[in-house]
Structure formats: structure tokens, C-alpha cells
Symmetry: C2
Subunit: 263 residues, 2 copies
């Protein structure tokens, strides 16, 4: 088996847990929702959940574990957040300290895991509506930018909104708003359409994260709130320890993308 596109989420997580899949998860268990991971000690959990609640477009929470529990009851009750992601990053005092393929020894009694929606879900919905996704066409990461919009603060969690950008033809913009509005749990509708300068982006060719993509003649850049925001903000607050997934190495849930549509 060279890809896991047809694997059930349980099968895919088993392969990952056994160390047989350590690559990015794009395309794995097609149709099932993938999620970003943030792990923090309980003392920061209320403030972080509050931050997510106040910034729902950037931080759409899919599941939160009780302190010390590593099975996400709503998203995948038979999973283990300590082993079922192909790559983890450990940040200490806001600095990247280590990369691992499991975090067995770091899931202390008071650790709380947050699963946060990711844009893979709405990208698939756009493709089903014949709106092509440039970063998929180019087989690269989506370009991401730090904006001049500030998130709503919650305690020590504070910082700018990070957005991802997908260029598209003018005729597709209205439909893109409609399609992604149906999925508020995975970033939802765009936060901005058009002029990058209005949200503090000077040069589309110089993304702060990810890869640059070509914007073709007559295309409009469309911007969505990005799941990198909560990680960047948590990092800024310099917690003693914070664990995240490695970029592109997501958690595969048992939930189907279509379950997240509101209408």
C-alpha cells in the first residue's frame, strides 16, 4: 500500500502509530476530516479554549480532551493523540525544541489536547464545485501571511491573525463564499477578498509560511483565517511546554467532512 487514500481512519491511524507512515497526510483517508493539534497543560487550557471561542474563524475547535485523557471522544474515540500523528513538534518557552514521531513520555496527567479544524475540508468542497485550488495544482503548501488584524485577546493569548490565500477567477468568488460559509467548523467563509494591502500584506510572493503560488492574469486573491494562528499565538505567549503536529502531518478523525456543513 503506497497511499492511504482508501484506508479507513482506524487503519490509517494504525499505520501511523506503527511508524509505517511518517509523511504528510494530504489525501489520506479521503473524505474524512483532518485536524490540527495543540497540546497545553491544564493551567493554560481555559484561556486557550476562550481564545479559540473568541476567534472561531481562525480557531475552529473540533474536539478537546479532558486533562490527561489522550483519546478524543468526539473525533475518534479509539485513537491515541500521543502516537497517531506522523510528526509532532515540541515547543519549550515558545521555541522549537524537538521533533518526534510520538509523545508518549510527554502526555502528563494535566495535558489537554485541542483538535482544530483545517482547510483540507473546505478545499475538497471547492473542488467538488469545480473551483480549482492552486496549491493543490502546484503540489505545494498553501501560502500563509501574517496580517495587520489582531485576534481578540484572551488572557495571555494574543497576536495577529494569520491567513491562507487561494487565487481564483473572478467568476468563482461568489460561489467560493457560499461553499465555504457552509463549513464554519473548518474556518468557514473568507475573511477578505481582493487587495492584499488592506489587511497588511505587502507582497503576495513573500508568504510568511508555506510556499508562494502564481496569481494569474484576472485572478482575485481570496483569504481565509488559518489554523496556524492559534499555534503562532500560543507560541508568542511562551508557555513552558506546548506540543503541536508537524506542518502537514495532521490527525485523521473518524468524522466525515460533510458532517460539518451547516446547510
Amino acid at each position: 500500500m503506497t497511499t492511504l487514500a482508501e484506508a479507513t481512519p482506524t487503519e490509517a491511524r494504525k499505520r501511523i502509530r506503527e511508524g509505517k507512515w511518517t509523511k504528510p497526510t494530504s489525501g489520506v483517508s479521503s473524505g474524512f476530516t483532518q485536524a490540527n493539534l495543540v497540546v497545553l497543560p491544564k493551567e493554560s487550557a481555559f484561556e486557550f479554549l476562550l481564545f479559540c471561542h473568541r476567534n472561531p474563524k481562525a480557531c475552529p475547535v473540533l474536539d478537546v480532551t479532558e486533562p490527561g485523557v489522550f483519546a478524543p471522544a468526539a473525533a475518534a474515540p479509539d485513537a491515541d493523540l500521543r502516537t497517531d500523528i506522523p510528526g509532532y513538534r515540541i515547543y519549550r518557552n515558545g521555541v522549537l525544541d524537538d521533533e518526534r514521531i510520538d509523545i508518549m513520555d510527554l502526555w502528563w496527567d494535566d495535558m489537554v489536547g485541542f483538535l482544530i479544524g483545517c482547510s483540507f475540508t473546505f478545499e475538497q468542497a471547492l473542488i467538488r464545485n469545480d473551483i480549482p485550488i492552486r496549491n493543490i495544482e502546484e503540489q505545494c503548501n498553501v501560502p500563509m501571511y501574517i496580517t495587520n488584524r489582531r485576534c481578540v485577546q484572551a488572557g495571555k493569548f494574543d497576536g495577529p491573525l494569520v491567513v491562507s490565500m487561494r487565487p481564483m477567477q473572478e467568476k468563482d468568488v461568489v460561489r467560493a463564499v457560499q461553499v465555504t460559509s457552509r463549513f464554519p467548523s473548518v474556518h468557514g467563509s473568507p475573511v477578505h477578498i481582493g487587495n492584499p494591502d488592506s489587511i497588511g500584506i505587502r507582497d503576495l510572493d513573500k508568504p510568511d509560511f508555506g510556499d508562494k503560488v502564481p496569481v494569474k492574469e484576472g485572478e482575485v486573491p481570496v483569504f481565509w483565517a488559518c489554523g496556524v494562528t492559534p499555534q503562532a499565538v500560543a507560541m508568542n505567549s511562551r508557555p513552558e511546554i506546548m506540543i503541536t503536529h508537524a506542518p502537514g502531518h495532521m490527525f485523521i478523525t473518524d468524522l466525515k467532512d460533510e458532517q460539518f456543513s451547516v446547510l
Copy 2:
């Protein structure tokens, strides 16, 4: 001024704060969103917020204050949650202990206020779509029932889903689903349509809270998750202290109902 229908939210809250309005708030500051209040000490705040997150239809959170802060920054930054509600209830160890018109002496340094969406918002949206609301026609409280559906537990917070019921003509049911689906922040779409027995309700004429309303020939009962759920569940967990609004005596926010629609 005998009603406050035309008052701005700031004016209405001032009258309430000065003790000049101690009645229920139905119709006050028409078009502005009203909210349920739950106040708990910080030690319970993470688990309660988690409970709300896991049960979003019953517990749609509009705003949460930082510990000790009594101004709800998102919902009404110039308000004071200690004085701006016309009636409060104090529960100690799960038992109603006192009713007050202010809680100045009880908002300790670690108190967290939760504002939770209420059905007034979607009732107005139904009326704008020519779907009449029986409890408004009858000038009584909406009937509410304890169901056999269990909420998703979060720590000590656990209990059954409470629903409100509005009867309507068969021809209006599809439109009622569409209209209320637009408002996920204020309970959203119905949780059940039709046979009360399927969700453990034996007799529509014997609501567990509120008043009974007539269900006319050919009408269908439609059930929505109810904001009484989080209060009932919090009460079951017998916290040392919990403060809520008195029934029907809501908090008037600065937010407009239409701001909560997703499409």
C-alpha cells in the same frame, strides 16, 4: 416610558441598573440579542466552557468574561453583569438560595460570566417569515421538557437535554428548519420534529418548565435545544455557588440579531 422596546441597549441597561425596570425583558430593545447568564468560579470555568462546546445547540456561548471581569467585552463592553439584569438567582450546592436585583457583593475575583444565546432571536426570525409562535400568541412562557437524550459530558457537568416546543402547521416545518439553521449561535436548527415519545416526552400538556400551549389539529410539534439545559446541568453538579438570571429576565447585548446569521 412604559416599555423599553425602542430603547437602545445602553439605555435599557441603565434603567435596569437603576432599579427602574425589574420585569421580564421580552420585547426590550427590539432587534438586539438577549442572553442567558451563568456565573461560576474559575475552578469550574474550563469544564463548563468545555460542556458548552460539546453541546453547542443547547449551550451556544455568545461571550465569556475573564475571571473577575464583569464587563462582557464582545457582547456589551460598557455593561456590568453584576447590575444590568433585572433579576438574578443564587444557587448554593445546587439549591435556589436567594433572588436579587444585583449581585455586587458576589462577583469575587475569580468569578467567570457566561452569556448564552436565547431563543428570542430565532423566534423573531420565524415571525419575519410569517411562521407564528404559539407562546407569543398566547402571551405565556414557551413549554420546556426534559428529554431522554443525554448531553455530552464534560467533567462534572452531565445531564439530559432540555428542549422547548413550538407547534406549527405542516406547511411551515421545512421553512422553520431553514430559517433557524441560519442562527447556530442561538440554538440553531430543531433537534426533533414530530412524535414527542421518540425523545422521551410522554405528555405535551405537562411541560417540565414553562407553560403548556395548545397544539391545534394538523399541527406538528417542533423541538429546539433549550438554554435551560446548561443551568439544569450546572445545578445537578451542585457547585458551591452558581448565579443565573431569573427566568425571562435576560441580559440585553449590543449585538443585533441579524449579526448571528451564517448565511
